[in-house]
């Protein structure tokens, strides 16, 4: 046997160039406003069209729908770079737009639906949200109670959705509804709902522990009437469609969290060199040095796990187990790193003016959102034959 040349990087030069351009955009247009937007509990809607103009909202969508025609790894680069803006909520809101609410339109939508929703979403002129979770059904999607009943050719929708990111400002929602009364996995369907539809109501803007710059809504739908053309994909196939969507959601979610952990690590490293205690930089105290070594090791392992899943996903596989493992492991690493960072920064970390606390609060969501750690373990165990 002989050795053919191996490249060590998962990304190509094109990805590297894309990364540089996103990083420049983030540093110029987003990072300087992170503090202000966090304090305001919101960021301006025009961030979406700005991103859209640069093509960043359609990196992995084909050119015929207005995308850049890149591969899956391109959107992964976006998630990693967005995390560096320092405001988890902003990164999450954009991820909902690019990788959660819109992939089902591309995958299952009609030409009309693509024109009406996907194209403007890629341009950033329409903001999207995804309506799955309900007060009594999260990862247990099969327990969703929002109903859609046929009335002539229309659908009449009733129910409630909760924890909906972008829900307060969205122009449309990709909504999961039970359309067949007897329960089971085959009773669900997806709909595309303009948020100015009569009966759609944002009842609360929810106050959260972290992710302050993003809006999170509680939605009530009361006798909301939708035309037949609002149905996305096949009637009764909503469960499978949303399970597919969740794979991408989990992968980009955790990729962003790990990139956030990397940013936190870099801040800790800089602090460890500059902050002095007992006559030397804290990084020269062995326990702090080893703590940082542990953080770096865990981040690297989590990143490689995400890349492995993304590589498979990009090459056409549907690696549910690897994605679930990446989500589980990466989420825990992100939270551990954020917590260790609090310790390294000491008293300063506990002050709201130091961004380390934000990483700590923001990262906590990834162990819950998109399916909890416990749900990931259930999936992995099942796929392991347990």
């Amino acid at each position: 046997m002989s050795q053919t040349e191996i490249r060590s990087s998962f990304f190509t030069e094109e990805h590297d160039a894309l990364r540089a351009s996103i990083r420049a955009f983030v540093e110029k247009e987003l990072t300087p406003h992170a503090e202000e937007w966090e304090a305001a509990g919101n960021f301006p809607d025009d961030v979406f069209p700005k991103l859209g103009k640069n093509g960043f909202l359609g990196l992995s969508y084909p050119q015929e729908v207005g995308g850049q025609g890149g591969d899956y790894l391109s959107t992964l680069v976006l998630k990693e770079e967005m995390a560096r803006c320092g405001s988890g909520g902003l990164a999450m809101a954009v991820a909902v737009q690019t990788d959660m609410a819109t992939p089902p339109i591309h995958k299952f939508g009609t030409k009309e639906q693509v024109d009406e929703y996907l194209k403007p979403a890629i341009q950033g002129t329409k903001i999207a949200c995804l309506g799955i979770t309900e007060p009594d059904a999260g990862s247990d999607v099969a327990n969703i109670q929002t109903t859609g009943v046929k009335d002539g050719s229309d659908w009449v929708i009733n129910g409630r959705k909760i924890f909906i990111t972008n829900g307060c400002r969205a122009h449309f929602c990709t909504l999961v509804v039970r359309t067949d009364q007897p329960s089971g996995y085959n009773g669900f369907s997806l709909f595309l709902v303009p948020t100015d539809t009569p009966g759609w109501q944002v009842t609360r803007r929810l106050d959260k522990l972290g992710m302050h710059s993003s809006d999170t809504a509680e939605i009530v739908m009361e006798d909301m009437r939708l035309p037949a053309g609002a149905l996305l994909g096949e009637e009764g196939k909503g469960f499978q469609q949303i399970m597919w969507e969740l794979q991408g959601e989990r992968l980009v979610g955790v990729a962003g969290s790990i990139a956030g952990a990397q940013l936190t690590f870099e801040r800790c490293l800089a602090y460890a060199h500059e902050r002095t205690t007992f006559g030397k930089p804290i990084g020269k105290h062995q326990v702090i040095a080893h703590k940082l070594a542990t953080m770096a090791s865990e981040i690297e392992a989590a990143r490689r796990l995400v890349y492995d899943a993304a590589w498979k996903f990009n090459n056409g596989a549907y690696p549910v187990k690897e994605i679930s493992m990446a989500k589980l492991y990466g989420a825990q690493v992100a939270c551990r790193v954020a917590n260790e960072a609090m310790q390294i920064f000491g008293g300063a970390s506990y002050m709201m003016e130091v961004p380390i606390q934000r990483g700590w609060r923001d990262s906590r969501l990834i162990r819950i959102g998109g399916g909890t750690d416990e749900v990931m373990r259930e999936i992995i165990a099942k796929l392991k034959g347990l």
Binding site: M1, S2, Q3, T4, E5, I6, R7, S8, S9, F10, L269, A272, H273, G283, K284, I288, A289, H290, L292, A293, T294, A296, S297, E298, E300, A301, A302, R304, L305, Y307, D308, W311, E322, M325, L328, Y329, E374, M376, R377, E378, I380, A381, K384, G385, L386
Partner: protein
């Protein structure tokens, strides 16, 4: 053409053949060899016949390489034989003793020691560690004093795998002054007067020979020196990377086997009316371990990929080594736990995995040393 994937179809076919060898010629004897606390020398020869020792080397020495990826496949598969000591004994010969001779030796030395080493007819070992110097290589005390065309070696080496079995040992000794610049590598053949090897009992790795080597004015021809005088420290540091990456690869593989065996047991064992594997606490613990093992696999392959691409991978190798070895041990501990009382009985192999895996976070540089190295790469 460059590729991102580590293993080609050819590698996978090769893997299948090594796996077959391990399953047919090693695994069935694991229990017996463990009881005897030894495995036959013929196994080295058999590995030589199969070409398992020659993948790093060109044809002129009887090798079939260089193909470091194929070589790594050997480490992964040998681990599955069920006796940590067998893989350790074969690995110490393949990745330490022989590899040093190739990397740092001259043509003459390669012909003399590497060629029979590749054939498995001569067994090698590496002796760096001493009673008072392990990872702190620069502090080693064994002396080699030049006397005309000989070196006279005096000192003691410790924890040397294959030490009491090897035909030749690569010995790190001080030929110069204090510090790392005074260290050289010298090959000592086993029958050299003044050289004795005393086997030491170990917690695990029972089938491998671990020995204390005593050099009492042991006279070795000067031509036995590998590389330049004083270059030993740098050579040792270089080869540490390979030693550590193969340890990490083996740890990942071993952890997966330990977990899969534990799951099989948990599925067969019933408690409170259902298989132990059906209790949610175990399902979730297994899921966590499966996840961590895969994370370590990805990290280790990343480090190997960087090495194979010829890049500096010291940071990634150190990360993979400590994390994978630490995990292998934690998996073994959980596996022992799920076996309950049986886990504590010597007739169940899980206790062996528990003992064998404990060396991972110590050998080849402790977890603490790995963290020191990683911290240094960040300027800490």
């Amino acid at each position: 053409m460059t590729r991102y994937e580590l293993f080609t179809e050819e590698h996978e076919a090769f893997r299948a053949s090594v796996k077959d060898f391990v399953q047919r010629e090693l695994a069935p004897h694991a229990q017996e060899w463990e009881e005897k606390k030894d495995f036959p020398r013929e196994i080295y020869e058999r590995c030589g016949e199969l070409g398992l020792f020659g993948l790093k080397y060109p044809e002129e020495y009887g090798g079939t390489g260089p193909d470091m990826i194929a070589d790594a496949v050997v480490n992964e598969e040998l681990t599955l034989c069920g006796a940590g000591g067998v893989a350790a004994g074969l690995g110490a010969h393949k990745d330490l003793g022989s590899y040093y001779i190739y990397r740092f030796g001259n043509q003459e030395q390669r012909k003399r020691w590497l060629v029979p080493g590749i054939q498995g007819k001569a067994i090698s070992a590496l002796a760096v560690t001493e009673p008072h110097a392990g990872s702190d290589v620069a502090a080693l005390k064994t002396k080699a004093v030049k006397d005309a065309d000989h070196y006279v070696i005096t000192g003691t080496k410790m924890f040397i795998t294959n030490g009491s079995k090897a035909d030749h040992v690569v010995v790190a000794a001080r030929t110069g002054g204090e510090g790392y610049k005074g260290v050289s590598l010298i090959v000592v053949e086993k029958d050299t007067p003044g050289f004795t090897a005393n086997r030491i009992a170990t917690v695990g790795w029972w089938t491998s020979h671990t020995a204390e080597l005593v050099f009492d004015e042991c006279r070795v021809p000067a031509e036995n020196m590998l590389g330049e005088e004083g270059s030993g420290f740098i050579s040792i540091m270089k080869n540490f990377q390979w030693e550590r990456i193969v340890m990490a690869l083996a740890a990942v593989r071993a952890a997966q086997k330990t977990l899969d065996d534990a799951i099989a047991y948990a599925q067969s064992r019933t408690a409170f009316g259902r298989p132990v594997a059906k209790f949610q606490t175990w399902r979730h613990r297994f899921a966590d371990l499966e996840t961590e093992i895969h994370a370590m696999r990805c990290l280790t392959y990343h480090a190997l990929r960087k090495m194979a691409a010829g890049e500096d991978a010291m940071r990634e190798v150190s990360m993979a080594k400590w994390m994978a070895c630490d995990l292998d041990w934690r998996v073994a501990d959980e596996a022992l736990q799920v076996h309950g009382g049986y886990g504590y009985m010597m007739e169940f192999p899980v206790q062996r995995a528990w003992r064998d895996s404990r060396l991972g976070p110590i050998g080849g540089g402790t977890t603490e040393i790995m963290k020191e190295i990683i911290a240094r790469t960040y300027g800490l």
